[in-house]
């Protein structure tokens, strides 16, 4: 069933109560509750983090690196996502956050917003080619790319074949550091400070290219506590941002389109909304649109499941920081030569994932769907989730796939018990002859 791959969202078995909250919120129906605990179907999980957000027992966790992991490298570069700046309300400048990163163990900092500036230029170039199917779909949110791979394979040709800003930032950071410090590139550890689980997956199992330039990812939630005392203490910093306000704006939904495709693009955030609009793209309704910026998280990266600050406040903070910067656009700030100097483009095709298929052969899949439909007719249609599958339809599918049986449905079980009870009554009434 599809490729074997790492994925970042995992279950903490001890904390899981076996409730059905996560079941209902998974956009790819990748969760089942069996034996009183949730299980994640790895092939289907797109690491969007909806379940992390919804689980009140905090049983869904993202597998990210610990801060101490950076010390296995002699040289350590932090790649802060621009959403990190939004975590510190009233912070005087971006430089303060950058300096704080150097105080907790990083030997250097390179802003992902600079990678976003480079990608902005590259997107503008790509848009000049009218042969690509429209709308072009941004590849920046890895959970959106994954959901296309799982649920909308027909839209794979729409995905713009550019790496994520994080990757571009890592390539430039490593090369520049190696040159200025005269060290071998492999001695340098490059760590992304991530707002989400999907980026961790994008590092361990990239889509569109073989290997990531990033060595690991540390959750914003984890690093927040380490940074906070320093951010509070540093009154002013000599460090300053090297990114444009447009690059920093990628922290919130709409930032990418603002920078790269201000006209005739569509900005969609939140997984439900992304799915709804992708359905329309698939139906051929939005061919006149140039660009689709989709973010799995409401509000964009500031709404990531591994962020600390609430997304509205974080957005506000990011926008204030942008306002304080000279209004330079990436078109002026990034020299055109950069586009050929670093590996910005996909070098491996994205292939459909196929985990929704009932069977490898269509003939067998048809047979299974017939069985599924027959079972579905007998189910109550409440989509209650008590059986551990997210909907009656998914339950019927699970029965056909051999994972459960009809009496796992509480309503069918009740009917059967009623029948049995009636039989017992009937037997008790039979007289001795």
């Amino acid at each position: 069933m599809g490729e074997k791959r790492f994925h970042s969202v995992q279950l903490d078995k001890d904390k899981c109560k076996g409730c059905t909250n996560c079941l209902k919120h998974c956009p790819t129906e990748a969760i089942r509750v069996r034996g009183g605990r949730a299980h994640i179907i790895n092939e289907r999980c797109v690491d969007c983090g909806e379940c992390i957000r919804i689980c009140e027992y905090h049983a869904k966790v993202a597998m990210t690196d610990k801060l101490e992991d950076i010390f296995r490298f002699e040289h350590r570069i932090a790649l802060p996502a621009p959403s990190l700046y939004g975590q510190f309300r009233h912070v005087g400048s971006i430089g303060i956050v950058l300096e704080a990163l150097t105080r907790i163990g990083f030997t250097s900092v390179f802003e992902v917003a600079r990678g976003a500036d480079v990608i902005t230029r590259a997107v503008k170039e790509k848009l000049k080619n009218p042969d690509r199917p429209r709308p072009l779909i941004s590849s920046a949110c890895p959970a959106v790319t994954r959901i296309i791979q799982v649920r909308f394979p027909t839209l794979i040709p729409h995905i713009i074949d550019l790496k994520q800003p994080m990757e571009v930032a890592a390539s430039i950071a490593r090369a520049e550091y190696a040159k200025t410090h005269g060290v071998a590139p492999e001695k340098i550890g490059v760590f992304f400070i991530t707002p989400c689980a999907a980026k961790m997956t994008a590092i361990r199992s990239p889509l569109g290219h073989e290997k990531s330039e990033v060595d690991g990812a540390i959750s914003m939630m984890e690093i927040y506590g380490h940074l906070l005392p320093h951010v509070a203490e540093i009154k002013a910093s000599d460090m300053t941002t090297s990114a444009t306000p447009f690059g920093i704006g990628w922290a919130r939904s709409g930032g990418e389109a603002d920078a790269a495709v201000p006209k005739n693009s569509m900005v969609v955030d939140g997984m439900d909304n992304v799915i709804r609009v992708l359905e329309e793209v698939e139906d051929g309704k939005l061919r006149d649109l140039d660009y689709f910026e989709g973010a799995a998280c409401p509000g964009g990266c500031v709404g990531g499941p591994l962020t600390y600050e609430n997304k509205y406040l974080a957005r506000n903070t990011v926008m204030s920081l942008m306002d304080g910067l000279p209004p330079r656009h990436p078109q002026e700030a990034v020299p055109g030569s950069v586009l050929n100097k670093y590996p910005l483009y996909f070098d491996k095709p994205i292939v459909p994932n196929g985990s929704m298929k009932l069977h490898e052969s269509i003939a067998n899949a048809i047979e299974r769907m017939e069985q599924m439909n027959a079972i579905l007719d007998r189910l109550p249609g409440y989509d209650c989730g008590s059986c551990g599958s997210p909907t009656c339809r998914a339950f019927a599918e699970d029965i056909v796939r051999g994972y459960c049986s009809e009496t796992d449905c509480i309503f069918i079980l009740k009917e059967r018990l009623k029948g049995m009870a009636q039989q017992m009554v009937d037997i008790s009434h039979t007289r001795r002859e």
Binding site: R151, P153, T154, I156, E279, E280, E282, D283, G284, K285, P352, G354, M356, K357, L358, H359, E360, S361, I362, A363, A365, I366, M369, E370, N373, E397
Partner: protein, 138 residues
């Protein structure tokens, strides 16, 4: 054989696209290839919208068997006065409501014909229109 019927009501824009979405979901589960699925997605949506915009109401049917994927529709009228004219690109009789919603580019039937491997249409004034499309499994 798999068969699903979808009743479609005239003017029901709130449910527009739901039948197409369900058709896509089923075909994805059957493992229909991306290129074919894309053609069917476009044709199914045009078919669904045509019934909503132009007919008095009707239904769509999806059948999947060894011959391939069959999408058909039938409606309760009013019928198309000149089918060959309706099949030409850019011709549309969509009303104000539909045009206001961005429909009525006159590409519905031509898009269906272009995307299907076989396309048949029959229309009788006062009785209704029937369309049959076949998509081969490659």
């Amino acid at each position: 054989m798999i068969q699903t019927d979808y009743p479609i009501h005239h003017g029901d824009y709130t449910r527009a696209g739901e039948a197409s979405a369900d058709i896509k979901r089923q075909l994805r589960q059957l493992g229909v290839g991306s290129a074919t699925l894309r053609r069917i997605a476009v044709a199914a949506y045009e078919m669904e919208l045509n019934i909503i915009i132009h007919s008095l109401g009707g239904s769509m049917t999806l059948v999947v068997d060894n011959d391939g994927i069959k999408l058909s529709s039938r409606d309760e009228g009013p019928g198309i006065p000149d089918v060959s004219k309706a099949m030409s690109e850019g011709f549309s009789t969509a009303d104000e409501v539909a045009r206001g919603l961005g429909f009525g580019a006159g590409m519905g039937l031509p898009n269906m014909r272009r995307n299907a491997d076989q396309f048949e249409i029959e229309s009788v004034m006062g009785q209704g229109t029937q369309i049959r499309m076949l998509f081969l499994l490659t």
